[in-house]
């Protein structure tokens, strides 16, 4: 499903952010991407989203080399992925419904389809009764749930999350990560970047650990 083969990422005139990373995830698998700040976790996710381009090596998703995509093919590729950010990236002047609906509007769905899918996604994250509220009226955890609803409303093949619990307390972090695990149980491939060691220990999922751009192989038997 996801294959990084000797992937290196560096910026002109700067150090290597990722060095010969080899990572393999099967379809429907869930893994955690750990490492200290600056280790390259976000860059790895950006490569997957094609927000950045691989400098050397090969990155395949479903057997297709992502780096060969032409610019015009990237939007369709991104629509197969759901992404959750630490800072939620919500539109603060739009209500919860509109924020979640954006993913479906981009995909060209009709108003009726959008209505039913957004409602279902909000129910799934426990915000069925907050559809008309503005994000500013929600707590941090609720805002993150809106971000998750937006990421899963189109039932993506892959769900990526970049420090989704970074600003949340332990209880909320547990709730959010359990939500990701639910999606994984329903067949979605999930990769979550986190530096929250307590959650890593609790979840007992395969771990890819990044340290100064180098990846450590996941520990066997934890999945």
């Amino acid at each position: 499903m996801i294959e990084f083969i000797n992937v290196t990422k560096h910026y002109p005139g700067r150090h290597h952010v990722l060095r010969e990373v080899n990572l393999h995830m099967r379809k429907g698998e869930m893994a955690l991407l750990t490492g200290p700040s600056g280790a390259g976790k976000s860059t790895l996710l950006k490569l997957l989203l094609r927000l950045e381009e691989v400098s050397h090596g090969t990155l395949r998703v479903n057997g297709v080399d992502v780096s060969t995509f032409k610019h015009r093919h990237i939007p369709a590729y991104r629509r197969r992925i759901g992404v959750v950010f630490q800072d939620h990236k919500l539109l603060m002047d739009r209500d919860v419904f509109s924020n979640v609906a954006l993913t479906l509007r981009v995909g060209g769905l009709s108003g009726r389809q959008i209505q039913s899918r957004v409602r279902a996604a909000l129910e799934k994250v426990g915000l069925g009764n907050r559809a008309q509220d503005l994000p500013a009226t929600l707590s941090g955890g609720e805002q993150q749930r809106v971000g998750i609803a937006r990421a899963i409303v189109h039932t993506p093949e892959i769900l990526l999350a970049d420090e989704p619990t970074g600003n949340l307390d332990d209880a909320l972090s547990t709730e959010i990560l359990d939500l990701f695990r639910d999606f994984h149980y329903h067949g979605t491939t999930v990769l979550v970047a986190t530096h929250d060691q307590s959650q890593v220990d609790r979840l007992g999922l395969p771990v890819f650990h990044l340290e100064r751009g180098r990846l450590h192989i996941p520990e066997e038997g934890k999945a």
């Binding site: 939007p75 991104r78 629509r79 992404v83 990236k89 539109l91 954006l102 981009v106 995909g107 060209g108």
Partner: protein, 301 residues
């Protein structure tokens, strides 16, 4: 592309415009004034042409006939003249009438009576619309008439027609250049406005791009915004010209009355007005297209 996506983008654009009525009105007014200037000058030129078209007595051709021209030749010549391009009127002046006119104008009745015989030839006086044809075409036409069997000589002064047409051509060229410059100005005004809207909605654009929005999806609402603002500015420009014409009609009536004539100012016809609106909408669209294109090049690169 789904129709509902286009409709949604159009609604989105309208909503954005209505959410900021003051800013929208200022942009639209600025565009309308920029457009009204060259279009108003075109209208002024049209009115000038209309006015000059009335100066037919200044573009007069006299065709003097042979003394022995037959009635059939004269009749044929008259038919030819009446069907000539740009001919406003044809008047036959017989020998007797010519003599009477000469006596009356020159006051030489006594001298002519000593000749015993009327020396003046019959003639046709042809009045031309000075703007109906080019000076070259008018000269060719007059030369052809001069070769008719009944015609002894042709007399005309078409130099002033050439000068008049040259002045009008210069005026038209100047107005076209001004229109071109102001059209660029309109595109820049719209481009700048859309750039501000893009800046206001930068987060939305970035997030939409992250969740898989195409360039077209992001661009579309801004293009509709430009199109709508351009079209509204076109309507306003038309109104500005109509009001200006209406305000000026009174003084023009008074002035024409002093010359013992009437002159009705022309505004824009329905067709011209619709072309103005379409062109204005197109300029708005173009300005948006340029601004959004530049932004998206950054977003998608």
């Amino acid at each position: 592309m789904n129709l509902h996506m286009r409709l949604e983008a159009a609604q989105n654009a309208l909503h954005t415009l209505l959410r900021q009525p003051a800013a929208t009105l200022m942009t639209v007014l600025a565009l309308a004034i920029v457009l009204a200037l060259p279009v108003g000058l075109f209208a002024a030129l049209n009115n000038l042409q209309q006015l000059l078209g009335h100066w037919r007595d200044q573009a007069q051709v006299s065709l003097f006939l042979h003394r022995d021209a037959s009635a059939a030749d004269i009749e044929r010549l008259q038919a030819l003249l009446e069907h000539g391009a740009g001919v406003a009127s044809v008047r036959y002046v017989g020998k007797t009438a010519a003599l009477r006119e000469f006596e009356h104008n020159a006051g030489m009745a006594a001298a002519i009576q000593t000749l015993g015989e009327n020396p003046l030839p019959a003639s046709f006086v042809v009045e031309l619309n000075p703007l109906a044809q080019s000076p070259g075409a008018l000269r060719t036409l007059v030369a052809r008439w001069g070769q008719e069997p009944a015609v002894a000589s042709a007399q005309s002064d078409l130099r002033w027609v050439a000068r008049l047409q040259a002045i009008l051509a210069l005026g038209k060229r100047a107005v076209w250049m001004l229109a071109g410059l102001l059209a660029v100005g309109a595109v820049l005004v719209m481009g700048n406005t859309i750039r501000l809207h893009i800046a206001q909605r930068r987060d939305e654009i970035d997030i939409a791009s992250l969740v898989g929005a195409t360039r077209a999806f992001i661009r579309r609402p801004f293009l509709y915004q430009g199109l709508f603002q351009g079209a509204i500015a076109g309507v306003l420009a038309w109104v500005i010209i109509a009001v200006t014409v209406s305000v000026l009609q009174g003084p023009v009536d008074h002035l024409a009355g002093l010359y013992g004539t009437q002159f009705h100012l022309l505004g824009l016809s329905s067709g011209q007005g619709l072309i103005l609106i379409a062109a204005s909408a197109l300029l708005g669209w173009l300005g948006s297209r340029l601004a959004v294109g530049r932004h998206l090049d950054h977003t998608f690169s």
